[in-house]
Amino acid sequence: MQRRTFVKRLALAATLAAGGFAIAPTTYAADTIKVGILHSLSGTMAISETVLKDVALMAIEEINATGGVLGKKIEPIVVDPASNWPLFAEKARQLITQDKVAAVFGCWTSVSRKSVLPVFEETNGLLFYPVQYEGEELSKNVFYTGAAPNQQAIPAVEYLMSKDGGGAKRWVLLGTDYVYPRTTNKILRAFLKSKGVAEKDIDEKYTPFGHSDYQTIVADIKKFSAGGKTAVVSTINGDSNVPFYKELGNQGLKATDVPVVAFSVGEEELRGVDTKPLVGHLAAWNYFMSLKNPANDAFKKKWADYAKAKKLPGADKPLTNDPMEATYIGIHMWKQAVEKAKTTDTDKVIAAMAGQKFTGPSGFEAKMDEKNHHLWKPVVIGEVQGNGQFNVVWKTKGPVRAQPWSQYIAGNETKKDEPEKK
């Protein structure tokens, strides 16, 4: 076969294959408001993102059951960007320009958000981003319902420095190699230095996406920890967490010796991992499934019923987590804003979003900041239990305002705390 024919066939096959992965939208009656759901349902991030798709569908079903928005039903359009960052941009464009969705709920990794950002700004779309992230961004077209660094990373490190957290003196900053861990670690490094931690007491390490062999890393952490009280800050994302925690358990590195605090590990990521060797490792979020309050009980029940009714994988052990809460809050706030604006027009909804309030499953009233497109959220730090749940060991008294521009990055003092209006 000639080379050129071969290349052509290869390209043809690739197109066919890619086409096969798209999920056909369910058809609804004509008079609906469409929203897009943009989460990876396959690939390395599927472990985290699939449930966000499901909880979004649940929230939409819930809203539709009570009459929808502006008298119309919401029609969700689900696409699968397959943990493939450029595909996120393509799918986002398709949602906005072809399906004409009023808003998109989606993305997990910052690299996927960065790749869709130009699309949303160009087409004046509306994105609700439900995951904690590194800050350093403020777009008029995005609402950030996850935590900024001052609502997660900084309090977690402060806790580990405190007497109750173990008084850590040395720090391993371990992450997946992309923008979120790199930026978070840059902020944390500056923060640690401001607290008097010396350069030699900070060790920064990265692994590629999907990395599965953590022998060397864990051995190195062990060696580093011999030099004094050590804590590990993990920004490992996706399914790499499973082999990482397995290796920690197998090599006998216990939380009482070296606690690991993770920013992207919640109940869902620990599903099926034997957590008995991991008891005491920490996670910092704005919500845990184990929180005891009526709003959370109702949310958990709703989710368990929904998972059972839809026969979702894992319905026998329904779990809720922080980004699910953030997704749920995001959809409800969008609904409230649309009703306030009496239209789905992007600019009017953006204006109506300011100051929206919604009592989320965390039991606190989350408020969309009037200016900076971020939520006011409480911070909670939990320790892993033998049953895969988190036991809250520290929390803030109330919601904390987000600071997307961290004071620990030089040059941020002059940045405005609201998006540039175009």
Binding site: S42, P208, Q215, A226, Q251, T256, P313, Q385
Partner: protein
Amino acid sequence: MAAWGIAACAFALPPEAVSHIAFGDNDAKLSAIDELVGRGDLSALPLLQGLLDGEVQTIGADRVLLVKGDTAVDAVSGQAVTPVPEGRDDVVVNNRLRRALATGIAALRLAAPEREVRLAAAKELRNSADDAALPAIAGALTKESDPEVRGLLALTQASIELASPDRATRIGAVRALAASDTGATKTLLTALLERRGNVYVEPDAEIRAAAERSLRAVDQRLLTGEILARIFSGISLGTILLLAALGLAITYGLMGVINLAHGELIMIGAYATYVVQNVFRLHAPAAFDLYPIVALPFAFAVSAGVGILLERTVICHLYGRPLETLLATWGLSLLLIQGVRTIFGAQNVQVENPNWMSGGFEIMTNVVLPWSRVVIIGFTACIVVALWLLLTRTRLGLFMRAVTQNRPMAGALGVRTPRVDMLAFGLGSGIAGLAGCALSQIGNVGPDLGQSYIVDSFMVVVLGGVGQLVGTVYAALGLGLVNKFIEAWQGAVLAKIAVLVFIIIFIQKRPQGLFALKGRTVEA
């Protein structure tokens, strides 16, 4: 259960300390734990252990219970409480308390009659002991007869005594620490040798000299441990590469089929393991630990079956046309991925390790070999030996080699080449299935599992020399070791890049790979 019995009949604990443990804040809890441990009274053990295991619960503002399953015992009096009352609250502990509890329990257990318990306690104390534990350690040392426990305790005592104001004690401690092999000792000794400005932290020159000698001994041992650990992790990574590549060494190496669906055959083996695991969990939870024994032949059979099906329906029509084979097998791999995604869902599935494959065993304090990896190394060695025997000692192996080297001649001599092709392809696929079964124990199992191994597999086979089993073995182990040593030095991301660059250069210089096939072969 023995300790439980003791608790029930032992005399009461001080109610005040118990109440502090249950209702006080963390500082009150800590001092109460210290108090209980300081009494050196074994009857506090069940309460402390229960606190660690989350079995201590409270009722109202005064009663403290130890609840285990559906039995409850009053923590103060040790009397059984039946029936177990309702409305209980958990007593929550955090890492700080857990650390104190573990140390306290270990200090109490030093007096236990069983050697294993004392040894475990001594190991626990090694990492966490402080001044408070010194009397318990000194007391235990006077009674201890077992040399291993004694050794550990003496080291722990020495590392605490380094801070002693008495010069003779300090010198003794520094000298004793030469026998240690922990990184923590290194830190302690290095601290002695530090200077602040022009003044040494340790004013006594004799102690400094002793510390230097001890430090050298400890360093030597730490270095040995580190190198051992690196070699082990390199071999472990190497065997994983080898497992993934062995099947391909047959289908691509021996038969010349560029099989891009090889990774998916591994993935199918992993899913077969998952299915067997679920069947065991559902129907024979008692025998759950034995599921890998059933999963192995099942994974082999399923993957071999799928492989033979692919060979008979698609690949057998494409022999001698590498580009079409490449394209067809790539298409097949996409089909298989989508098929698995449709059946099992796009998310990863969880394959749980049986108990005997969890945890690890410690050969030095800084070298822990995880059981799962040790088992996989042994398993891979068995497959390689079995495969070698099959290829060199059996009739099928003879036919396979004959067909590989000279197909028309083998055919002319009466070998049914299509049948040999089918069996060889089935064998290669089956081994991929076994690889999947093993990989499911240490990595993630998802529809994309195969994609992450296919490139590595081809890399290993090409580097080793196409058509050579022994080349594949050397190449896999070599790549594993090189990768791990670079990772230790430059990080995981650069290690991966460095290995790829190395292979590109190597193949440029030596296209036939490490070992070239010698002899009279006929190109198909």
